[in-house]
Amino acid sequence: MRDTDTAATIFRRRPDVSFTSFGDELLVVAPAQSWQIVLNGPGKRLFELLDGERAAGDLADALLEDCEEPLPPRDEVVADVLELLGDLENKGAVQRV
């Protein structure tokens, strides 16, 4: 995650990435870094939502729709989204638009 990242920052899945579902889990393979990881829960949902058009704030809103009351503060969810996307960027799975 960069200091300049905001709720308006947009990411997309890198075109060389492959992914497949195993029930509640998603296996993501990023050949650029020869790396693979299992995502589940919000991480899986987030990765599936990445379409290169939704900004981090939109993604956070989509995740909040799945949450039960009491909802966490939106700013915290946006920060979590940006942190996960930054991690996935370092591993060659996503890129900034």
Partner: protein, 350 residues
């Protein structure tokens, strides 16, 4: 605290559901090398054309395949290799390629290959010098081409694993082979078992390495890399292997096998309309048989002796060698003895 789900967990789940996650496609048995221990057994029939391979890949994907391994023979000798490999990637699947590296010595070929974004490339490295490697491949200059390929792949940031079948000819060079691969950032996997050919010819077994150099090398490897050759845990759940469950192999003619090593023909991919249903319901006896055998092996053959518990055992190779997948066979028995001795030597030195 909830345990993190690992990739191993996913593959265990896939095995339980009989999902063919890893599809190994033998695109051709043609090769530009003449390795003395090659296990391929060409049948002289017409190989599937590129369109048939693309149809097969789509069927495999529909059944849950995710990793597609293109191998041979030598896959790059097919002119339509690029069409097939691109088809794998266009379907969103993970591309892995097993090659002797000769084609990738060419810069333009390496560029084209890198553009496919393969996840892993496995090359065959048979010696630490040209004399040894070329003697085993039967083609002079193949070592130099392989080094050029390793350089090309390394400079393009591709992940490469070198694989070395250990033979009498290279048994004294294993550390040096690691060093050669290490110059290009590659790890080496050593295959102790030289196996019969796919049609049961036992002559390659005469090339198997002697025991003592392997014991010493494995003990040293355990100390350096932590790759300790421990025995199989008799309480471990699950089958002896995932042949016919998470693994499927298609030969150049479209014939379907449970694994590259277990040559029980299950049908032909061109004739199987719904491969997902075929794999899930296992409507043919050989498929149910290999699954049953793999389930039984841990409490039969592999539990019968200490050397069996240490063995690098493959039921398919055992069947080709002895006629029975339940027979340990000389190849696996020897590997068990070597691994057990290496384990003891490693423990003595700690």
């Amino acid at each position: 605290m909830e345990r993190r789900v690992t990739i191993g967990d996913l593959f265990d789940r896939a095995a339980a559901e009989a999902r063919p996650v890893v599809a190994q496609l033998e695109l051709t048995y043609k090769c530009n090398l003449r390795c003395s221990f090659c296990y391929n057994a060409p049948a002289g029939r017409a190989e599937l054309d590129g369109d048939a391979w693309l149809r097969s890949i789509a069927k495999l994907k529909a059944a849950g395949a995710f990793h597609v391994i293109l191998t041979g023979g030598e896959p790059f000798v097919r002119r339509d290799f690029w069409k097939i490999a691109a088809g794998v990637r266009e379907q969103g699947l993970v591309l892995r390629v097993y090659t002797n590296g000769v084609a990738l010595a060419d810069e333009a070929c390496a560029d084209r290959y890198a553009a496919l974004a393969p996840f892993e490339t496995e090359v065959s490295l048979h010696g630490a010098d040209a004399a040894t490697h070329d003697r085993l491949t039967g083609v002079r200059g193949s070592f130099d081409k392989l080094l050029a390929a390793l350089g090309n792949l390394s400079r393009r940031g591709l992940h490469v694993v070198a694989k070395t079948p250990v033979t009498k000819d290279n048994q004294g060079q294993l550390r040096a082979i690691e060093e050669v691969a290490g110059r290009f950032g590659c790890k080496v996997t050593f295959d102790l078992n030289i196996t019969p050919t796919d049609d049961g010819d036992l002559s390659p077994l005469a090339l198997a390495a002697e025991a003592e150099p392997l014991v010493e090398f494995l003990a040293d490897l355990a100390a350096r890399r932590g790759a300790v050759p421990a025995p199989r845990d008799p309480r471990a759940a699950g089958p002896a292997c995932n042949a016919g469950r998470t693994i499927v192999t298609i030969d150049p003619y479209g014939d379907v096998f449970p694994c590259v090593a277990w040559r029980r023909r299950l049908g032909n991919i061109e004739e199987i309309e719904d491969f997902a249903s075929f794999w899930r319901t296992a409507p043919v006896a050989p498929l149910t048989e290999v699954r049953r055998i793999a389930d039984e092996l841990p409490r039969t053959t592999l539990a019968a002796s200490e050397e069996a518990s240490y063995a690098a055992f493959c039921p398919g190779a055992a069947e080709r060698e002895t006629g029975s997948p339940f027979s340990l066979g000389e190849v696996a028995r020897r590997s068990g003895e070597i691994r057990r001795a290496a384990h003891r030597r490693y423990l003595e030195r700690r």
